[in-house]
Amino acid sequence: MSVLRILIKRNRIWVAISIILSLVANLTNMIYMYYVGELVNKIEERAVVSMAFIVLLAAFILLSVATLFMNQYVGRITAEKMAHTLRIGYASKLIHRSAEQGKECDTAAAMSVAQNELAQSDGYLTNTFFDITGMLFTGILAMAFMFLQNVLLTLVLLIPTLLILIYVGFSSRSLSTIVSAAQDEKRKMNQAGFTTVHAFPAVKIFEGEELCKKAMDERLVSWTKHQTKVGRFAALYNTLSGILSRVPLMLLLLAGGYMVIKGKILMGTLILFLNLQNSLTQAIMNLPNWIAGFKVFTTNLSRIEIEKRG
């Protein structure tokens, strides 16, 4: 985690702007959804929908789209800046290592880090990191907004969601163990490829092609065994998490339905919750994947040393 902290610290202005933009974009979207709930109430009451109200909704659509664009763009630039810091930090550390510590560089391990851990962390920062943090942020904000609307209905949604979180927390721990084991196997397999490339002239002279194939096959078998386990666990956890994520929606419809019937809330409020709960359950439903991905990312980062000075 310390590397991640350094990356955030060195790009703190970008990170701060991203957080502010994310907040603004999410709030705009939630207010728009609130007005959609109002529209539903008008439809249910068979009331006239005024032109001014339609213009207001249209204005919020425009505002939502604009803030979404800014949030996406700036957020991804921030992730790119962090990836750049990581790449430069690693190169800088390697260059200064022998002079500073006087220790020999383990070339195979360093090259493997450059090819695997660094490449994967870079890809994760560039492609996934922003989406994950953005979704989690949206989930948290949606929950806060729902609390402001109706505490009881939020609790109906929140309590089963918290149970899912416990399940997800438990399952992701088991998942991360096997993900880590599979990562190690993949690293060994990739290193086998690297040494074959590096020792290619010797392989040709001594006709070691079959030996290299055999060695690679053994490592492939070992990695696929671990990776199959990861795939199966992920399938099971995602499915269970998918089912469990459906339960809060159904409970929301059940409890919300009773509350509408008893006149405690309006249909518009229920529709608002239905629209917002998606942000929450979508975030939770994909949590096992995201946690596994984040674990891989932090495991990769822990293998990368970067220059502490910057």
């Binding site: 929908v49 390697l94 260059i95 490339v197 290619f200 040709k204 159904m250």
Partner: protein, 325 residues
Amino acid sequence: MNHRVIRILKELGLWKTFVIVMILRSPFDFLNSVLNANMLESFIRLTDQRDGDNLSRTFWIFLLFTLLLFAYNASIWATVAVKTDMMLHRRLRMKLLESMLSRTQQEMEEYSEGDWITRLNSDVDKVADYLTAPINFMHSMIAVVNFVLSSVILIMLNPTLFGVSLFLMIPFFILSSIVIVKNIPKFRKNAQESFARYTNWMEPIIEAGDAITVFDGQDIVLDKVREESEKIMRENVKAHRRTAWSLAVSAASGMTGYLLLLLIGNSMIGTMIKDFAALIKITQYRGRMMMGVMCVNSGINNMKSNLTGVVRVDEILKAETTDPG
């Protein structure tokens, strides 16, 4: 599917297996859409009719269907799909290694060590990602099935609202997923090439670090590395700007469409639409259509970016087939 990917799958003897997995997985999203739309319709209708007695019975019925549907998906995913994915990795990595080993030293030196390692490792991952990673080809196909079948149901439910939905979806889709994202693969390719050059710079840093230190060359080397890293960032940011535009256009389409459906549907309640619950069902199918389009849109972007790896892998495999030795 890209012709290169088809060629790779055929060469690995996995084409038929992949098609079977795809067929088995394709109905999931659509069946989930049907379940979701009917569930919302039932609950909202019962609520509107003040029928509290049947609410809990409906709850248990839909819970049972949910369990059955997810159990089906899990069994396909955990057995056939995972196995196919692993077979793809194993066969492709071996095939590439064999291709590499069948070359002469001279042919081998056509690419740098870093380039070979990238092809053997991360490019193979890109081929597998193209086919089976989330929001790539497999998800896109599942989304297409969902889109087509949800459209059919929406036409049957209300052709006018289907027309409105389509009118707001297709132009936006063309704009966001074809026009705006057109240059993303080019930017990604540039970024990847810069990353390969960055990795090539790492080689002397790692293997000749002492020499660089002795000759006081740290700053020059670091400047070169920084230059490549900045190129990666610049090209990726160009791609991200396009992605952000694409998402903004999709969001505009989604929000406008939903609002119009509610407003137009409101005027049809009691005539062409039975009640508010039926309108919600229509918005659900429209939402699923939209989700399908967005999934295909993102899938196309991801597939395009993974295609760079596919091209590089295919280049090696093709070279092997043309090599007389």
